[in-house]
Symmetry: C2
Subunit: 361 residues, 2 copies
């Protein structure tokens, strides 16, 4: 039974099971299970004794056994579908994860994390995780305007929360009936944020503004582009005065876009960048050409980071509480797992941190 010789070559120390606890506490296995899971049907006395023994033995429930006996896997999934190249540049993602984990860790829930190349692989992975019963739920990031994931996850019955999704999905094509969202969503109000941004720039006197957006197809990219147009229309600015261009979020494309923008016949007096890295790259292009910031060009970064504070001049940025957003998403996923209703939760509105890179044109 407890003969150590036969066990294995590497002799991994034996992990205690409830059987061990039952034997030592002199009760049955089920009593142990009840005691440890705070279920009624066991005396205070036994409960205390069982708990003490479990503590002594350093017992932890075998996650596989738990998952197998119909309980939860105690694990959530998060997939990031991005080409390896785009990885690790923005601070956004790791901060989001850190917030997510804060919530999960408190409940002893683990996070399965995987980086894949594309959306198709991501979907295949969800299918596999579902079939393997590996995760209890998933957080979907980087939602797209045409996104197959909510449909897939809903059909699998795999609990999920979309992080950064839309409050109201744009009907696409425009005359299509508005469908109810398939998954719970946490989102940030990009429209209001964009409005603040435009307010700031317009107030300073800017009339020619270019928005260097991120990847086309991402929901928030499209949302920001639409919002900018709306704000421009409100102020009577046409699409030669105010416009958006898309990029892949990289420093290279940010710089390239900036060059093209500055080469135009009537270059803008302000540029809004959809992330910190492109903003820094853009500022660098301006410096290269001897264009003074903010005197001849104002620069704003959507998303703050140390980068924005170490450049010279320091960059005005839209500051979000990213870990907080992650916490919110994690909480919402827990709510979904607890049988909560499908809903849409709004995150904190980002605020504009005016620094030295914006001023009157």
């Amino acid at each position: 039974m407890t003969a150590p010789g036969e066990a294995a070559r590497r002799k991994p120390a034996r992990r205690p099971t409830i059987k061990d606890i039952a034997r030592r506490a002199g009760v049955s296995e089920s009593a142990v299970s009840f005691a440890l899971n705070d279920r009624p049907g066991v005396s205070q006395d036994t409960r205390a004794r069982v708990r003490r023994v479990a503590e002594e033995l350093g017992w932890q429930p075998n996650s596989a056994a738990r998952a197998l006996s119909g309980e939860r896997a105690g694990c959530m999934g998060l997939v990031l579908a991005r080409p390896a190249q785009t990885l690790g540049v923005e601070s956004f993602f790791l901060q989001l994860v850190s917030g997510i984990q804060e919530v999960f860790a408190a409940r002893k829930i683990a996070l399965l994390f995987q980086v894949v190349a594309d959306l198709e692989t991501e979907c295949a992975l969800y299918r596999r995780w579902w079939a393997e019963r590996r995760v209890d739920g998933v957080l979907v990031v980087d939602p797209r305007t045409q996104d197959p994931r909510p449909q897939l996850l809903a059909s699998l019955g795999l609990p999920a929360v979309v992080v950064g999704g839309h409050a109201e999905p744009a009907p696409d094509p425009p005359d299509a009936p508005r469908t109810r969202p398939l998954l719970s969503t946490v989102w940030a109000d990009d429209s209001k944020a964009m409005a603040r941004l435009v307010d700031h720039l317009y107030g300073l006197g800017h009339r020619r503004i270019v928005h260097v957006a991120g990847l086309p197809g991402l929901a928030h990219t499209e949302r920001r582009i639409r919002s900018l147009r709306t704000e421009a229309d409100l102020r009577g600015l046409d699409d030669r005065q105010v416009r958006s261009v898309t990029t892949d979020y990289s420093d290279a494309e940010g710089a390239e876009a900036t060059r093209r923008i500055l080469d135009a016949a009537e270059p803008p007096t302000a540029i809004i960048y959809d992330n910190d890295v492109m903003a820094v790259a853009g500022a660098s292009v301006a410096a290269e050409r001897g264009i003074p910031v903010p005197d001849r060009l104002s620069i704003v970064a959507w998303d703050d980071s140390p980068l924005c504070r170490v450049t010279h001049p320091r960059l005005t940025a839209l500051v979000r509480d990213t870990p907080g957003f992650g916490r919110l998403a994690a909480q919402e996923l827990l709510a979904v797992l607890d049988g909560g209703p499908l809903r849409t939760v709004q995150g904190e509105l980002p605020h504009l941190e005016a620094r030295e890179s914006t001023g009157a044109p």
Copy 2:
């Protein structure tokens, strides 16, 4: 279909099991298991039929059941012990993870990822994962000079590989007997890298060099500091000419250290920064003070990133293949799991990418 309020009653689609396959293929469960796991003892014919049915049903092994019946969990662990603040600044980490996953994904192994506040929590987590049988092995990052983790993991018998560890642990205290490493290790030769760096700077004519290192206590920090001293000694430079200061890797401390360094009576003509963010911050401080780079100050970043290429001037950097390093680590962990010997594997030597931030003083 499903009313929003009744999410709890949602009936998840049933996942196929080998029982389903057995029934449909008209064989026993064990035959199915053998067929699907490439084990002998089943005819070619049956094997093919079983496989076809499994494919049709979209069957995937239930990970919990597999893990419970003595197989592996199909999961590796990675813990990052850092205060949330330091997170997401460097590109290093996500790239490392991306490389790790490439190897694991090919074997359908998942990665459990957790961010914790400190080393103590990390150790507690290893204990829990071990007791829960949640992971088959772990990758240990950010090794320290005094590190409790190898000891702990070895005693638990939890397979592990140290990422970025030392080839030869410094005896600590100096007269202590040299102990054999407890875990397999993949490492990069920081000494040679530092030698290249000093060669480059010394060759340009620099005689006063300061090294703005990262967190004290991290193995590679101490290693780099020692290497710099060795290289300085070789060239007859004393510790007022060449020295290291430690920081927490943040842009703030990088900038602060730079200010102090430049305020010294005899400021250095070159500064080596232990990461990209501090290098950029340092360059910004120099710009702030009107110190021309590289004419009066040369700057080198240990670790390249888009950051180093978007600043003005672009920063000379030590380029590593970080995803490659991650792949190496993952492969080594797989080797350990397959019963391979304890060993120390060396990663690719980083190369110096000379850009505009270094020149003759």
